[in-house]
Subunit: 205 residues, 2 copies
């Protein structure tokens, strides 16, 4: 059970292949007919597996269209952030962290765009997506708390994490509007800058 290296093995290959096929079939059918007009049985029929097997791969139909992707932050980057970040300025360092996080490949860029499309069309999926983002938020909040223990900061980790989540979404949206080419992380800088511009000009209290 300690084989995280070496040859992928026939079993693992088949598994990944099936998972891919299931996601693809789900996307196709949903795009064509809408989420609620596609049954799990139909998806399974298209791929050629039993209904039961479907639920061995994904906990729910919705998870299948989302591809069940999970954003992982590289240890090196999160460690550096916790220890005071590359520059020492909180906002700037958050920007760096986001760029690194968004550059971790979870799905092919093309399928990622597919997911974005379907999600924006199906409210229920959006709920799933948001729940997923919430998990992300908790992760970021923990990082912020850890960093605060190292480098004192007057900012509330929860509030910062909340804003940060907004930044991620905004970056993704920009990326999508720009045609979905290249990495979403390319839009982090401009989003951060705009957010600064929004709140920076000190008004009369």
């Amino acid at each position: 059970m300690q084989r995280t290296d070496r040859a992928p093995g026939l079993r693992e290959r088949k598994k990944a292949q099936r998972r891919e096929a299931l996601v693809a079939a789900t996307h196709d059918l949903v795009r064509e007919r809408g989420l609620d007009n596609v049954t799990v049985d139909e998806i399974c029929a298209a791929v050629g597996v039993s209904t039961r097997t479907f639920f061995n791969y994904f906990p729910s139909k919705d998870d299948a269209v989302l591809g069940n992707s999970r954003q992982e932050i590289p240890d090196a980057a999160s460690l550096e952030f916790v220890q005071g970040g590359p520059t020492g300025d909180l906002v700037t360092d958050i920007g760096h962290l986001l760029v690194v996080a968004l550059d971790v490949p979870v799905l092919s860029t093309e399928r990622l765009a597919d997911v974005y499309d379907v999600v924006s069309r199906e409210p229920r999926l959006l709920a799933h997506q948001m729940a997923w983002m919430e998990q992300q938020r908790v992760t970021y909040q923990e990082l912020l708390e850890a960093r605060r223990d190292v480098v004192p900061s007057p900012h509330d980790p929860e509030l910062v994490a909340l804003v940060l989540t907004g930044l991620i979404r905004a970056a993704f949206t920009r990326w999508h509007h720009a045609g979905g080419n290249g990495p979403p992380s390319a839009f982090v800088a401009e989003v951060v800058a705009e957010c600064r511009a929004l709140l920076a000009p000190d008004q009369a209290p």
Copy 2:
């Protein structure tokens, strides 16, 4: 069908009463046994209505525990905001708008705290909640776009709405941490101020 005034009528009273009873029963049972160990039938049995009726009131079990509350922004406030807001400064006016919106009573303050508790314990409800917040976000974005048509602004409505959503959540969280007393809107000002402090200090680009 044009009676938005005058006596509530026996029918309407019974309806509101039933709804209240259903939410209460749902909260009790869920708090006691967890969301997934409570069936709709049990809730209905506790209240004394048929299962079918339950779904006449709420589109899903989850909606029942959330109380299906929908945040309505008073027309007067949204109109003023669109036309350039009370002060003319975008961020300040957003603060005012949030205060007004959060002060609309949707549930009793006590039950609101219940909802918050249950939601933070049940991941699936969180998804629902987030979806609801997303609808809010769209509403705010539309307001921002309308305002921009009246008063030119360099800020992207989507980005602003995203940040704004974070502010609402943060205000609610503060309110909850403070014991859930008084209106959540009381925390808007401090959240906005902190957010400004976070992004205002201009760093070297």
